[in-house]
């Protein structure tokens, strides 16, 4: 039995996917990161390895690490950038995808792929929290909502409102003021999701958006942000058949299989 393991250690969550030789997902897991990356890795493995019947690390055929904390994965046979992993994972699931919008905890990447799934171009924001998952997290906290509620509640908004601030800190201040002015949570949630979508689209337009488009990362689960982006671009996104948060880890596992087979030759 072959086990290809992809581990994606992001800034807010850690993800793992285990594939077999037929590319079937045997196990997957997403957890919030621990204080130290090594503890995130260990917790992930403790969760999934027993599920597939692996008792010792030596039973793992090949392991690829990716993400912000990829250099802290002792088990990894090699590490690869998350750009490649997201591209690989997305192309594997939906071969017609030419643009992947990956919105992570502390960054946002727009990845352009060709018909073979090779990387054509990409752009990344990792300098400013606005337009990343962290922005939504701060805003959800300010409104006293969970991230899920921030997405669903925004659909109930009747009068869309626009936020003046881009910076997460300024926006938090603005939202606190709007709360004390008596603006209701659905309207604020809608304004936040719209601002988030605008930031992502502004970044994406710098590299261009070719169809089909798919969204990966935790924010892909926020219906408010996704529907705003779709409306702004006038197109429907392709939806992944798996949790959009594991695309990077899935890509890492696929890369693991390819790398292992190449080494065998």
């Amino acid at each position: 039995m072959e086990y290809y393991v992809g581990i994606d250690i992001g800034s807010l969550t850690g993800k793992v996917v285990i594939l077999n030789a037929e590319n079937s997902i045997l196990a997957e897991k997403v957890i919030p990161v621990k204080k130290l990356p090594i503890n995130t890795v260990n917790t992930l493995l403790e969760e999934v390895l027993p599920k597939v019947g692996i008792k010792t690390f030596s039973e793992i055929t090949y392991c690829v690490g990716t993400g912000y904390g990829r250099r802290k994965i002792p088990l990894a046979n090699e590490t690869i950038s998350e750009i490649t992993c997201h591209g690989t994972g997305a192309h594997h699931l939906i071969s017609s995808v030419r643009t992947v919008i990956d919105i992570g905890g502390q960054d946002c990447k727009i990845i352009r792929l060709d018909a073979q799934g090779h990387l054509k171009n990409f752009i990344m924001n990792e300098k400013c929290a606005a337009g990343t998952g962290r922005y939504l997290e701060i805003m959800a906290e300010t409104l006293g909502l969970t991230l899920d509620e921030l997405g669903t509640l925004s659909l109930k908004a009747k009068n869309p409102l626009a936020l003046a601030s881009k910076c997460s800190i300024y926006a938090r201040q603005e939202v606190m003021q709007l709360i004390s002015d008596g603006i209701k949570k659905p309207a604020l949630a809608a304004a936040i999701n719209k601002a988030m979508a605008e930031r992502v689209i502004a970044l994406a337009e710098k590299v261009g958006l070719e169809k089909d488009i798919a969204v990966s990362g935790g924010v892909a689960k926020n219906i408010g942000v996704v529907s705003n982006m779709e409306r702004m671009l006038g197109t429907q996104f392709k939806k992944f058949s798996v949790d959009p948060q594991i695309i990077g880890a899935l890509g890492a596992a696929l890369v693991a299989k390819k790398a292992y087979n190449k080494k065998k030759e």
């Binding site: 800034s11 204080k35 130290l36 502390q106 990792e126 300098k127 400013c128 929290a129 962290r134 922005y135 701060i138 881009k166 910076c167 997460s168 800190i169 300024y170 201040q173 606190m176 003021q177 709360i179 004390s180």
Partner: protein, 260 residues
């Protein structure tokens, strides 16, 4: 006649009451997202502490939230008030560095105290007081103690993120890695001083220079900025956090407006 300056900022409300240019009352309250409520509290405090009625005091209100003051008053911009306050205390000042909760400003004034030019960083909270507050929280240190803690460092770390939110995560990471907290604090303070220095370079700065705002009390930021400028920063005789309110109060003594 009494004159009050109320600085209704984005994070704190500061006020000063003058009687014949002597400070008779001052106070500071966090805004906590509700400037109206805090301003009401401050106004009540002024009236009850001094046992006065509306027509016995003139009020000038300034700060980002000045329109939210609970009672009618004369409004002035922060820049005018800062210049007024600093010039009154040290007439030789030509350049003022103001670090607010959300925005940093550099103000140039001439020998008459008139504002000649200014630059504001108001696009993002990087290098602002809020940035320092987030980091202080991450280090579990009171913001007022952060400068002292930083000044103990022999080996300041370099903080790579400019974004306050990302810098906060970076600090948490460094703490978890077991890095020395004074070294982290010094890295953060130096980063803020560096951002102030960049802003200063965008204006044709001239000595003497003063640092004002709550952050001015941070010894490490002061010292690091002095090192970068290769110049001493002038020390004000009042708490630099109150300088804007002080300037507003000075205006209140001059302008013949019945505030209420």
């Amino acid at each position: 006649m009494l004159a009050a300056g109320i600085d209704l900022g984005s994070s704190y409300c500061k006020y000063i009451v003058l009687r014949e240019s002597e400070i008779v009352l001052k106070g500071i309250y966090p805004i906590e997202g509700d400037p109206q409520r805090i301003s009401k509290k401050v106004v009540n405090e002024i009236f009850s502490s001094l046992k006065i009625k509306g027509n016995e005091i003139k009020i000038v209100c300034t700060g980002r939230n000045r329109k939210k003051l609970a009672i009618k008053s004369q409004e002035m911009t922060e820049i005018t008030c800062i210049a007024k306050g600093v010039y009154k205390l040290i007439p030789s000042i030509r350049t003022i560095v103001d670090v607010g909760a959300l925005t940093n400003k550099i103000i140039k004034i001439n020998a008459e105290g008139r504002v000649m030019d200014y630059v504001i960083n108001d696009k993002c909270a990087s290098g602002s007081g809020m940035f320092l507050e987030l980091v202080a929280k991450a280090l579990e240190t009171d913001i007022s103690k952060l400068g002292e803690k930083a000044s103990l460092s022999n080996n300041p770390l370099s903080i790579s993120n400019q974004c306050s939110i990302f810098a906060e995560s970076e600090v948490i990471y460094l703490v978890n890695e077991g890095k020395n907290e004074s070294d982290i604090a010094a890295g953060v303070c130096n980063s803020i001083a560096g951002q102030l220095y960049s802003l200063l370079k965008r204006i044709n700065m001239e000595a003497d220079i003063a640092l004002v705002g709550g952050v001015a009390k941070n010894v490490q930021i002061r010292r690091n900025l002095e090192e970068r400028l290769n110049l001493p920063l002038k020390q004000l005789s009042i708490d630099p956090f109150y300088i804007t309110a002080y300037g507003a109060a000075l205006f209140a003594t001059e302008i013949g407006v019945g505030a209420i």
